[in-house]
């Protein structure tokens, strides 16, 4: 948005329905839906399945709306990055103004409907999430600091808290831990991507950590964050949403995640060039699986509780019931 030489590409053809769907970042929406569902199912209490479905749809649409606002704001840098050049705006399939209108309308709509379907607290959290992603991250942090995704990662971390709030109407230690898992997972996930997409970010003048501080510092940070993440990700095992299944799964996942980060840490650029960043790419793939399984474990524990298959005497050391 700062490059005065940039102009939006001319519309090449009539936008199809799929182009508008793409504007809502369906792949990000999938993760949002899954983590929000995990928060909703893990929360103590009951919510009617119809209300649950309606709430999850609102959260997904809100996330999609913030994605559209992000694409509207970032259309100039999307055009110069190979990973994003085919997005609807830079490829000329959807107009900038259309994207802005869709983003704003769906944002307002999703928040109001969530307040009506579930409760005002959950809707407030959704509104803050959209604001955080579109304004704090996209408009401010992304182009200003290499810590962009460290702080901006909070936007992606809110959905399980919103799902939890749909049921409970508030926040608790358990939902904060769910938030913390995604928040601490985001930097190593994106920095692994940035390591093998450094050229892209350099061309777009986005100050990602490898561009500003170099690959050595990035490797150090990935390893450090994976070490901090591990105890936080294992901790929910000892809350009311955890149990033995979660504990075993979390131990295995975090051992793999730390091991992957350690492999990245001990390499240098020559090693990485020799195998075309294979280790970094594998770690990036692992990070996606890591998050899906982690929140899958929350759902598994919730299902076990529903079936009455809880382990008697399981130590609840944190939060309610401690």
């Amino acid at each position: 948005m700062t490059d005065s030489t940039w102009s939006t590409p001319p519309r090449t053809h009539e936008a199809q329905f799929g182009d508008y769907v793409e504007l809502l970042k369906p792949r990000v929406m999938r993760l949002v839906i899954f983590t929000a569902l995990a928060g909703l199912l893990a929360a103590p209490g009951f919510v009617n399945p119809v209300i649950a479905l309606a709430s999850i749809i609102c959260i997904a649409v809100g996330a999609g709306a913030s994605g559209a606002l992000n694409m509207w704001w970032d259309n100039d840098i999307d055009a110069v990055m190979s990973r994003t050049a085919t997005r609807p705006i830079p490829s000329g399939r959807v107009g900038k103004d259309e994207a802005l209108a869709i983003g704003l309308v769906l944002s307002g709509f999703s928040v109001v409907m969530l307040a009506l379907f579930a409760n005002v607290f959950a809707a407030g959290l959704l509104a803050f999430t959209i604001f955080f992603y579109a304004v704090i991250y996209s408009m401010w942090l992304k182009r200003a600091t290499p810590q962009n995704i460290v702080i901006g990662g909070a936007a992606g971390a809110f959905p399980p808290m919103i799902g939890w709030a749909v049921v409970t109407g508030g926040v608790s230690v358990e939902s904060v831990l769910m938030f913390a898992i995604i928040f601490l997972w985001t930097p190593p996930h994106f920095w692994a991507l940035a390591l093998f997409r450094t050229d892209d970010y350099q061309r777009a003048a986005v100050p990602m950590l490898p561009v500003i501080a170099g690959t050595r510092a990035t490797r150090n940070q990935i390893f450090a964050y994976s070490l901090i993440l591990a105890p936080v990700a294992i901790a929910p095992a000892f809350t009311i949403v955890g149990g033995p299944v979660y504990l075993v799964g979390a131990l295995i996942l975090n051992a793999m995640f730390v091991h992957g980060a350690w492999r990245i840490w001990r390499r240098n650029d020559a090693d990485a060039a020799a195998d075309r960043m294979l280790v970094e790419k594998k770690y990036f793939g692992l990070s996606i699986v890591y998050l899906f399984i982690h929140f899958g474990l929350f759902i598994a524990e919730a299902a076990l509780r529903l079936a009455g298959l809880t382990t008697s005497g399981w130590p609840v050391l944190i939060g309610a019931g401690a």
Partner: protein, 61 residues
């Protein structure tokens, strides 16, 4: 040429069908949530030009 056979309609077909389905799904969703909320016994009041006795000051007899 019939007015509805213009090539514009062909180009916009997927948009129109998609939007129609989305709006239809939204209507079904709102209706379902309304039924659930009524079934769960939530008080739903319509202030349609009728005096609500609950809002009137209490008069002791």
């Amino acid at each position: 040429m019939r007015p509805d056979s213009h090539e514009l309609y062909d180009r916009r077909r997927s948009r129109n069908i998609g939007l129609g389905l989305v709006l239809g799904a939204f209507v079904v969703l709102v209706f379902s949530v309304t039924l659930v909320k009524l079934y769960e016994g939530q008080v739903i009041k319509g202030y349609d030009h009728i005096v609500d006795r609950d809002l009137l000051p209490k008069i002791e007899e």
